[in-house]
């Protein structure tokens, strides 16, 4: 799917605004000062996404998923590599990950990352919904740990449009990379693009 430069800029801006709101909420609830920025947004297909996520390493990925339906159908995800997930959890909870067992890390990861992901994804999807006047219904967020190929194997066959926003979490001196992935069914992507064009024609 080809998007014009203006459409891509608009998507970047909306995601950046959403992520900024997410950072503001995170700062309220966490003791650490968190900065979030989205340096890159791109449209991919599932194979390209899997290749992109492989850059995070060969370990399992930690993914917080927020399903949505309504004018748009799809799933918003916040994905971290195993190592980055543990570091982020350790930083915000003040636990030393080197002193934790895999069970501890897993339990803490699922709880803490679900909430962090929930905050970021809610802000991003809320911004989409508000700015583009897209009424959406959301399902309760879920947390999955799995390999990239397993996370997206169903989509390889389906024709899914994917919006990838590379997100940088800066927590004090620590810089953690996480990816926001928005998976849309193609008709939804068309709706989204149409709304973006409408929005900018009004501005």
């Amino acid at each position: 799917m080809e998007l014009t430069r203006i459409q891509m800029d608009a998507l970047s801006e909306i995601i950046n605004i959403g992520v900024g709101k997410g950072a503001a909420v995170l700062n309220k609830i966490l003791n650490s000062h968190i900065q979030l920025r989205v340096p890159l947004v791109k449209i991919l297909d599932s194979t390209e996404l899997i290749n992109e996520l492989k850059e995070m390493g060969n370990d399992k990925l930690s993914s917080v998923n927020l399903g949505f339906k309504g004018t748009l159908y799809g799933t918003a995800q916040l994905i971290f590599s195993s190592e980055n997930a543990s570091e982020l959890v350790a930083t915000v909870t003040g636990e030393d990950i080197h002193n934790l067992s895999m069970d501890d890390i897993s339990f803490m990861r699922s709880g803490t990352l679900s909430e962090i992901g929930n905050i970021v994804l809610n802000s991003v999807m809320g911004t989409f919904s508000n700015m583009l006047s897209l009424p959406l219904h959301f399902v309760v967020p879920g947390y999955i740990e799995d390999y990239a190929s397993n996370l997206y194997f169903k989509m390889v066959e389906k024709n899914t449009a994917i919006l990838l926003a590379k997100t940088q979490f800066s927590v004090e001196k620590l810089s953690i990379h996480g990816d926001i992935v928005l998976l849309f069914e193609v008709p939804s992507m068309d709706v989204l693009i149409h709304r973006i064009d409408q929005y900018f024609s009004q501005v």
Binding site: I29, G111, N122, F138
Partner: protein, 408 residues
């Protein structure tokens, strides 16, 4: 119909779930309070229905909660509160006096009048899971600690075995040396006594006098060597007094400065309030002088620095573990002096042998100097700690138990 009755009718099924369920409107007024949360919070629905949730639980009346809950009334995505970041949403006291750990999910539910949304709050009790993880962590920490202790004990056992072997070796050598030194000393006394008589019998202007003098000098030197052998055994007589390392070093300073090669700088860093030790001044002087000479020789012909420090501190069992002494020392407060040089340093192999009698890295030495140092320190129930890095230098630290002088 009354809104609370309507809420009860709509949400009655939630009274049968093992999850705390609460419904509030955008004014935070409680519309539904299920039986589970009633039981957990010990707050009956009659007390809370129709009132503001914030008036009961003031911690919720903060931006960190409100800013997120507000989005729900606008139909926003579900909001999670994890127990790791917020221990509980509704404080519930457990029978053991602890607060319940909760994971809370708040979802938007269309309001009955179709105008906005209610917040449907689902509270999950994760205390047991959190407790299990906590117990697991405690168990793991305990196990790790036991393994560490076992490793430490194993290491200590190996060290004790090595020390015992060394002690046996040195003890045999010590017995032999003591025996020889004693017998040899007796013989020397005989020679010295007879040389004295001979000196009286030989006319003072005789050319033989100078040979008698040489016999006497050689005998005295041999007696001194015998004394060193006895010192090495750590069995030489100690005339112990309260002594302060700073004082000894101040008195020795002129001798040290004149002994050390001119191209070497001697630096003194003496602790102001240094506790006394109980020791034989003459023997401690010997130890200091020997260590300084050793440092001087380690630096050799190059320019360098010798630093002599005094200090006092508590030494733990772990710190004393690598001490060069055969007897087991208890942890405690020690006064010490150390002689640090910027000389050639030693490798591990050399470090293991330096206290062995007659071991020397120099041709000119007899290899008894450090053996004597160890014997004296051991005789004072002290110890020696050594740090050395090849090409960088060595530091010999002599520790004696600190003494608190009783008022006269």
């Amino acid at each position: 119909m009354d809104i609370f009755k309507l809420a009860l009718e709509k949400f009655d099924v939630l009274n049968h779930t093992p999850v705390g369920m609460v419904v509030i409107n955008s004014e935070y007024q409680v519309l539904f309070w299920n039986q589970c949360i009633e039981y957990w919070s010990n707050k009956h629905s009659n007390e809370i229905l129709g009132t503001s949730l914030l008036s009961h639980y003031s911690h919720l009346n903060t931006d960190r909660y409100l800013s997120r809950i507000e989005t729900i009334f606008e139909g926003g995505p579900p909001v999670l509160f994890s127990t790791h970041l917020h221990q509980y949403f509704i404080p519930c006291l457990l029978s053991n006096g602890q607060w319940m750990n909760q994971n809370t999910t708040i979802s938007a539910f269309p309001s009955f009048d179709g105008n906005g949304h209610y917040a449907l709050i689902a509270i999950e009790n994760v205390t047991e899971l959190t407790q299990r993880v906590f117990e697991y962590r405690q168990m793991r920490d305990k196990a790790l600690n036991e393994i560490k202790q076992r490793e430490l004990a194993e290491k200590e056992k190996e060290k004790i075995q090595a020390q015992m072997l060394r002690a046996q070796k040195l003890e045999s050598l010590s017995v032999l040396t003591r025996g020889i030194a004693h017998d040899f000393n007796n013989q020397l006394m005989g020679i010295l006594g007879n040389a004295s008589i001979l000196k009286q019998l030989v006319p003072q202007d005789s050319t033989l006098i100078k040979y008698v003098d040489k016999i006497q000098q050689a005998t005295l030197k041999s007696a001194d060597l015998t004394k060193q052998l006895i010192d090495y055994t750590g069995k030489s007589k100690i005339i112990a007094n309260f002594l302060n390392f700073n004082q000894v070093l101040k008195e020795l300073k002129p001798i040290i400065d004149s002994t050390v090669s001119p191209h070497i700088i001697v630096n003194y860093e003496l602790e102001k309030e240094l506790p006394d030790v109980k020791a034989d001044t003459a023997q401690i002087e010997k130890v200091i002088m020997h260590l300084v000479t050793n440092a001087d020789e380690a630096i050799g012909n190059q320019s360098g620095l010798i630093t002599i420090r005094t200090h006092a501190k508590h030494f733990s069992k772990e710190e004393l573990f690598n001490a060069h002494i055969e007897m087991k020392l208890q942890e405690g407060f020690f006064s010490y002096f150390e002689v640090q040089d910027t000389g050639h340093g030693m490798d591990d192999n050399t470090m293991l042998k330096i206290f062995d009698p007659f071991f020397s890295t120099r041709f000119i030495g007899r290899g008894l100097g450090l053996t004597m140092v160890l014997g004296i320190v051991q005789g004072h129930r002290g110890t020696i700690l050594i740090e050395s890095t090849p090409q960088k230098g060595s530091c010999f630290r002599v520790l004696l138990p600190s003494q608190v002088k009783k008022p006269a």
